[in-house]
């Protein structure tokens, strides 16, 4: 690759990174504000007008806080685990196409950081990797609460990973490719949501579970486990867990847009903005869900994953396959 290509790549990386991190930071504020309003409170309103600088203040506060390591903790794992959590959703964004190729001064710039031909597998692989942050953090803290949180995280991840993977099989079947760019291209005419509503629902639910958001936040269930796997964390390491969670919410929106809503395709607006417009409602939906639904019981969680989502996804695959065969023949 020539040097210009490298610079362009770096610029793309920077822009995506900045957008994601700021997005995550302000998503925290948005969540707090919205939750406040859902509960008839104003939400944070002290730092700057309407609390606009709250994320900044939080960031400074968390940076300045003491970074504690509990006695008896597995030090190296304890320090590494939050990084895994924060890194995985960032890496996920690498394969999400942001828009059509850009033609600039004889140069074709693809608006995706990396167009992997197995992009979908990459996503599935990475998202299961993120459970390591939870499990290791829970294990390394040398705390009962953390350990239980980590265990729940692992169990939940395994249960819902399956449903998530199965829900994407029809998409691959429809698009005929694992590449996300190809999947987006395949939706130029109509978004897959219209033909795969069941897949959409399964993916949304299992992604919710993987993001450990309410009503699936059993790994950190605060009224049983203090804060679950990140009970013992403080300062910036604690913040990394949070950054990871909120980036994950954005990435989830991105994936939903790519797989079911036609990615950057859309009328009027340029690709990246269109994509953004499709992403934004997803975190808001998640926040709304958090304000609405109570946490599931553990057995309900497991039953729902294994006895409802997986069978339904399997049936969906068979039906989709059958339809495709029938249409083609």
């Amino acid at each position: 690759m020539d040097s210009t290509g490298l610079i362009i790549l770096l610029a793309k990386l920077l822009i995506v990174l900045a957008a994601l991190l700021t997005g995550a930071a302000y998503l925290v504020l948005v969540e707090r504000k919205l939750l406040g309003r859902f509960q008839l409170r104003p939400g944070p309103n002290r730092v700057g007008p309407a609390g606009i600088w709250q994320p900044l203040a939080d960031g400074i506060k968390l940076l300045l806080k003491e970074d504690t390591v509990p006695a008896g903790a597995d030090r190296i794992l304890f320090l590494l685990a939050p990084a895994v959590v924060a890194m995985v959703p960032l890496l996920l964004f690498a394969v999400i196409p942001l828009g059509p190729d850009l033609h600039l001064a004889n140069r074709t710039i693809p608006l995706v950081i990396s167009d992997l031909n197995v992009g979908l597998l990459y996503i599935l692989a990475l998202s299961s990797l993120s459970v390591y942050g939870v499990v290791l953090g829970g294990w390394a803290s040398n705390s009962t609460f953390s350990l239980l949180g980590g265990l729940r995280g692992a169990a939940q991840m395994i249960s819902y990973e399956l449903a998530m993977g199965l829900s994407l099989v029809p998409i691959v079947m429809l698009a005929g490719s694992f590449s996300l760019v190809d999947i987006v291209a395949a939706q130029e005419g109509f978004p897959f949501l219209l033909v795969q509503p069941v897949s959409f629902v399964i993916f949304l639910i299992s992604a919710l579970a993987e993001a450990k958001r309410l009503p699936f936040d059993l790994p950190e269930a605060e009224n049983e486990l203090m804060a679950g796997y990140h009970t013992e964390y403080s300062g910036m390491r604690f913040a990394l867990y949070f950054v990871g969670e909120y980036i994950n919410m954005i990435v989830l929106g991105g994936l939903l847009a790519v797989f079911f809503l036609g990615g950057w395709h859309g009328p009027l607006l340029p690709g990246p903005l269109m994509l953004g417009l499709k992403i934004i409602p997803v975190p808001l939906l998640l926040i709304w869900t958090r304000a609405t639904l109570p946490r599931l019981r553990y057995d309900q969680l497991m039953q729902f994953g294994w006895k409802v989502l997986v069978p339904v996804a399997l049936v969906n695959i068979v039906v989709t396959g059958g339809l495709i065969l029938w249409l083609e023949s």
Binding site: L34, R37, L40, T289, A291, L293
Partner: protein, 185 residues
């Protein structure tokens, strides 16, 4: 089985409708005005019996009500009260020093309940945060006020029957002292 019965009653449709109803409820809340009273801008008037900063009151004659009986420090669940009792000229018992560590105080009000002379009282004034932990340590001169607080008329020494210079048998509901040299029936 109960679970099955629940399922039968609900059914998928009902469940989904229930879900949707709850989403609707929360959504309507989103557009209502917040109920919050923003604290420093608006200060709600507190009832007289709300429990915050502790004071030591005086009786009507201006004397310190506290007799340093150690009941408040004995009952304090966080041991934030300490004192030294002593005897004043004339026989009144008083606190030579009296200290409350507000950094420890949990404002439970047990001291006020235990106080037999109504000396120690909790007031609605709760705004006394400060930076340095030792600034929370309040001494007697910080605690003593020049009024009787919630029950200003009560004076322990009018009922206790101890002689602090005014003589035996001069208090409420007391007979004059017995003549110990008399053997008349």
């Amino acid at each position: 089985m109960k679970v099955d019965k629940d399922k039968d009653e609900g059914g998928i449709i009902n469940g989904l409708l229930g879900l949707a109803a709850s989403y609707r409820v929360t959504l309507t809340q989103l557009f209502r005005k917040p109920l919050t009273e923003s604290y420093p801008e608006y200060k709600r008037p507190l009832p007289a019996r709300s429990r915050a900063r502790i004071i030591l009151t005086r009786d009507k004659a201006g004397g310190e009500r506290c007799v340093a009986c150690y009941l408040c420090s004995g009952v304090c669940p966080v041991s934030c009260i300490s004192m030294q009792s002593a005897e004043r000229e004339g026989g009144r018992r008083y606190a030579a020093w009296f200290r409350i560590n507000f950094a420890r105080c949990i404002y439970c009000g047990l001291c006020e309940e235990a106080c037999p002379t109504l000396a120690i009282q909790l007031t609605p004034d709760f705004e006394h945060s400060c930076r340095h932990p030792l600034d929370f340590v309040a001494e007697k001169e910080d605690l003593l006020v020049d009024h009787g607080g919630k029950d200003g008329d009560y004076d322990f020494y009018h009922y206790a029957g101890v002689d602090c210079g005014e003589g035996k048998g001069t208090h409420e509901a007391e007979l004059p002292p017995v003549d110990i040299k008399s053997n008349l029936p």
